[in-house]
């Protein structure tokens, strides 16, 4: 079983990793976007830490994370990450602990939410190019380390393709060679999950 304490630890670790790497994420975004991805996520997760309802159930915790991100991050990342966490929260409502299968079902909900909100599919140089392969690897192998590997390969893959969603899509072929900031930030989050699984 995956406990509430683990979920809280992962969220705090995500915030710490973004605190560490927000400048790097912003640099990536300056190359192909508008240069605010790290700044915005940093503002969002700093507020998440202040609002984390640690005495509540996993569903409420994740929904609160999502709503906080929606109301503090802005840009496209706010609705996208916010929707992902809110969808997971709804799927895990009332739970103090969850099985691996319940977590995987919640992650599927998160991906469905991102696709719906962003009208995006894999291969468009977005967060999905890291997140979906990671979840697939996790399902196939049961290993978070394999999920991290798949996400990192997904980030590398985003260097080879043209962006067709978000602000980077305006660059057309000039977006080739640059890795997607959203795929990079979601990989940070998957790494936090892998660290907690150890």
């Amino acid at each position: 079983m995956i406990t509430k304490a683990t979920v809280i630890a992962v969220i705090k670790d995500i915030a710490a990793r973004i605190d560490q790497d927000w400048q790097y994420l912003t640099d990536l975004d300056q190359a192909i976007g508008d240069g605010d991805h790290g700044i915005n996520l940093h503002r969002g997760f700093t507020t998440v830490l202040q609002k984390l309802p640690e005495d509540k159930d996993i569903g409420t915790i994740l929904k609160t994370v999502g709503m906080t991100l929606v109301s503090t991050v802005g840009g496209a990342s706010g609705p996208i990450y916010g929707t992902a966490f809110m969808k997971m929260g709804m799927k895990l409502a009332g739970k103090e602990e969850m099985t691996r299968e319940e977590l995987l079902a919640a992650l599927d909900e998160a991906v469905a939410g991102i696709k719906q909100r962003g009208h995006a599919v894999r291969g468009e140089k977005t967060i999905l190019d890291a997140l979906e392969p990671a979840i697939e690897a996790l399902k196939a192998t049961g290993s978070w380390d394999e999920a991290v590997k798949a996400a990192e390969e997904g980030v590398e893959y985003t260097k080879t393709i043209i962006a067709t969603k978000g602000r980077a899509s305006y660059l057309g072929e000039r977006s080739i060679g640059h890795q997607d900031p959203g795929a990079t930030s979601v990989t940070l989050m998957i790494k936090a999950c892998a660290a907690a699984a150890k």
């Binding site: 192909i32 240069g35 109301s71 802005g74 840009g75 706010g78 969603k165 602000r167 305006y170």
Partner: protein
């Protein structure tokens, strides 16, 4: 990069307070929110726009009689959040509905759509238009479409005029969509801008380079080339606009990006007017100035709006806002 600020995290808050202190007869700030609304609420269809900050005087400076009823300010170059937009909608709604004027950027569209869902859930009539006037960007099914840039100001002006005249929500939306269908913009920059919290320029240009087709967030344009004269640059921008559709009688907006002297904007307009006249395109009205800026970016955009009697009437109607009066 030097900036006249106190703290990068406080720029939006301090700016909004500064605007209200300067112009209390035009706008007030919703308490605890980054939203400016008309000081004198109208009994009419309301228009709400907004986006990232850094485009001043858009959008707060365009709140007032005959234009916007509410403007939502996000962090610099970052779309505002749905809760803030929702509060703006609630504050300006006079029971006759609210039209959201959204610039076509992924984040703006998502956040405004989420806010519209929230407002509809509360029983407020909301509709939206998405401005996509930038001809620099390919409009194909493989991109998110053209960006919304300076042409948005003309949407505010003309749709706002009809709302002021008492048109209902469907009619105001129809007018706004007509403006959007007939407006085209192309921009370029010769110096980049710096988001305060980032602390360094969003892109870099060599001393003799320009970026053609730049967006209003300093996002890279269509290509980079050696700097040319103002007339040659204006020729190139007009060529791109005129290739996109036919124009017969137009309103011209020469818009500065914040760092370009007004002198240079008029130099550009001098040539724009000559070229249009030579091509037999009648210039009905010309607007020159900084309306949709990109912090301190140097450069400008040229906007052409094809007019008919209905659009002329909206363009000529009275507007009284901080930054746009006629």
């Amino acid at each position: 990069m030097k900036k006249l600020i106190n703290n990068p995290e406080h720029v939006v808050d301090e700016m909004l307070n500064g605007i209200v202190k300067a112009h209390p007869e035009y706008v007030k700030r919703l308490p605890g929110l980054d939203v400016l609304v008309r000081a004198n609420k109208g009994d009419k269809v309301a228009l709400v726009s907004g986006g990232g900050s850094g485009h001043e005087p858009s959008h707060g400076g365009l709140v007032g009689t005959g234009m916007l009823d509410g403007a939502v300010a996000g962090a610099v170059f970052t779309s505002p959040t749905p809760d803030q937009i929702f509060e703006a909608i609630k504050a300006v709604d006079a029971g006759k509905g609210v039209l959201l004027v959204i610039k076509n950027y992924t984040g703006d569209v998502m956040n405004f759509e989420m806010a519209a869902d929230m407002a509809e859930a509360e029983g407020i009539k909301v509709d939206k238009v998405v401005v996509n006037d930038d001809v620099a960007v390919k409009d194909s099914t493989w991109t998110v479409g053209r960006r919304g840039v300076a042409g948005t100001v003309l949407v505010h002006k003309i749709a706002g005029a009809y709302a002021e005249m008492g048109a209902d929500l469907a009619e105001v939306k129809r007018i706004a969509e007509k403006v959007i269908a007939n407006v085209r913009t192309m921009g370029m920059a010769i110096q980049p801008c710096t988001v305060p919290a980032a602390g360094k320029p969003g892109f870099e240009l060599k001393e003799d380079e320009m970026e053609m087709g730049i967006g209003i967030h300093g996002e890279p344009g269509t290509y980079r080339a050696p700097l040319k004269t103002a007339n040659e640059i204006a020729d190139e921008m007009l060529e791109k606009i005129l290739a996109d559709r036919e124009f017969k009688e137009v309103a011209v907006l020469v818009n500065g990006f914040g760092g370009t002297p007004v002198m240079e904007l008029y130099i550009v307009n001098n040539h724009v007017n000559d070229v249009l006249t030579q091509k037999g395109i009648k210039v009905y009205k010309t607007i020159v100035g900084n309306f949709m800026t990109s912090i301190e970016m140097q450069g400008c955009s040229i906007t052409l709006l094809e007019l008919d009697d209905e659009l002329k009437k909206g363009l000529d109607a009275k507007a009284d806002t901080i930054a746009f009066r006629c």
